[in-house]
């Protein structure tokens, strides 16, 4: 199992190196925008941004829009871009590998379940690595801008720049909503995406995951999983019913069902090229 995982980490990284570089470029761009917007807002006001304000800008999610005001919706391009890039990195490796080099690996591993579990672990590690890049780059941006590590959000910046409706100063909540929920929800959506890709096609897995993410930016409803990844859609910052504890349960259920369905399916499926003429 360890050898399989080592193979997936090495080959998954090799297969995705260009996409990871693109992801880093997107993150640099996102942080440059965050820096300029926050600095421009604070200029001449005497407001000093804190480190968490930068994290709120990058990870906090798009503006909450009540259902009767959907006409004011603006596409959160950069926030969506991060999600799209993660889905793009996850999207193709497992299935492409299965129909190429991975077939040698599968036969040598002598177990379909081990192969699937190794891909799941690769998926989780990849998403965690992408978020490590997000955290690191946002921290660097905050550090360069001289942001204070004050452990709370600056209300003016979060409402004025990050588009939060209001601000919570409950530290425990803040850390959970800003640092833990985006990662957990991303992991569960990525596993769902990989399972859908396995059963159908990678492009369908990509469309499913990104539909959930995109619709979540418009509709603040419990059913759309990505809402739990956004501090801006949380009950603690707007008039919604999105609570992180529900998101944790929902995310884990999606994760477990996806892993289970994927393993049952993969244990019985014929391994043939998808476009194979019979």
């Amino acid at each position: 199992m360890i050898r399989l995982l080592r193979y997936d980490l090495v080959c998954g990284f090799a297969a995705n190196i260009k996409k990871i570089v693109m992801f880093v470029i997107v993150m640099i761009l996102y942080n440059v925008i965050a820096y300029h917007e926050i600095m421009a807002f604070c200029k001449g006001t005497g407001i000093k941004p804190g480190m968490l304000d930068y994290f709120c800008y990058v990870l906090g999610g798009p503006k909450y829009i009540p259902e009767n005001m959907l006409d004011i919706y603006e596409i959160p391009v950069m926030w969506l871009m991060v999600q799209i890039m993660i889905a793009y990195i996850i999207g193709y490796y497992a299935i492409t590998d299965l129909h190429r080099y991975g077939q040698h690996i599968l036969l040598r591993s002598e177990s379909r379940i081990k192969w699937w579990i190794s891909k799941i672990i690769w998926n989780v590690i990849t998403v965690l690595s992408m978020y490590a890049i997000v955290f690191l780059m946002t921290f660097i941006t905050g550090y360069i801008s001289g942001a204070e590590c004050k452990g709370k959000l600056t209300e003016e910046i979060c409402v004025g720049v990050c588009k939060l409706s209001s601000v919570t100063q409950n530290e425990k909540l803040l850390y959970i909503e800003l640092f833990i929920m985006p990662v957990i929800i991303s992991v569960s959506i990525s596993i769902l995406q990989m399972t859908v890709a396995l059963i159908t096609y990678p492009i369908i897995g990509f469309v499913v995951s990104q539909s959930i993410t995109f619709l979540s930016t418009i509709y603040t409803t419990k059913i759309l999983l990505s809402n739990y990844a956004m501090l801006s859609h949380s009950r603690y910052t707007c008039f919604s019913n999105i609570v992180y504890s529900d998101g944790l349960i929902y995310g884990f259920i999606v994760m477990i069902i996806s892993i289970f369905v994927g393993s049952i399916y993969f244990n019985h499926v014929d391994i043939l090229p998808k476009n194979k003429d019979i």
Binding site: H104, L107, R108, S111
Partner: protein, 208 residues
């Protein structure tokens, strides 16, 4: 060592691609499967490899039933359809990565396998720079380098030059001497007569 195919049938999307196949493969022999395109050669190889599940029938490998007692044959090397490797790795590095999964051979055995198919184990060219023939040779080396009990080669001499074909013959003879079961498919009827001890003729999913 034996492989017994009992009443093997496979239907995909309403088409019967394998139709009631019964056959016994014994160790120490090279079996050649012959037939027109789409007659079911590759499908049969995939069934024996455990990559596809027969709709009916059983594959019995030395007393263990595939899909019941095991997911894949415990000792098998395959080259089915086009060889696929990691583009950015050299041939040696590709094989080393694969060998590390089971961990039963070292660098020396990998180098020997590469030399035996006519590839230079110190060649620093990446797989993407390989010619078709070199890719095919690497695929063959990958299938036999660990000397598995079952070796399946689909069109092994495709794109290989005359010298390469002689090397393939030598490898198959060696596998036979080592008491392995070798199953090959080949379009070239004359070459098949040289390579195989027993020829299995297939047509429309049936063994004739």
């Amino acid at each position: 060592m034996y492989i017994e195919l009992k009443n093997i049938s496979k239907t995909i999307k309403g088409t019967k691609v394998l139709d009631n196949i019964n056959y016994v493969f014994n160790s120490g022999k090279v079996y050649g499967i012959q037939g027109k395109n789409g007659c079911g050669k590759t499908m049969l190889m995939r069934v024996i490899s455990g990559l596809i599940r027969p709709t009916e029938g059983t594959v019995n490998i030395n007393g263990s039933i595939l899909w019941k007692d095991m997911t894949f044959p415990s000792s098998i090397g395959t080259l089915i359809e086009n060889p696929a490797f990691i583009d950015s790795y050299t041939g040696f590095k590709n094989l080393k990565m694969l060998a590390s999964i089971k961990g039963n051979i070292g660098d020396e055995e990998i180098r020997t396998a590469l030399t035996r198919v006519g590839l230079d184990s110190d060649d620093n060219r990446k797989y993407r720079k390989y010619s078709l023939g070199m890719k095919q040779k690497l695929g063959i080396a990958c299938a036999f380098m660990e000397y598995p009990d079952i070796v399946i080669l689909d069109e092994p001499i495709n794109a290989i030059d005359k010298d390469g074909v002689i090397l393939v013959r030598e490898i198959l003879n060696d596998l036979k001497k080592r008491d392995k079961i070798v199953i090959i498919a080949c379009h070239d009827a004359e070459e098949m007569k040289i390579l195989a001890d027993e020829i299995i003729q297939m047509e429309r999913g049936k063994v004739l």
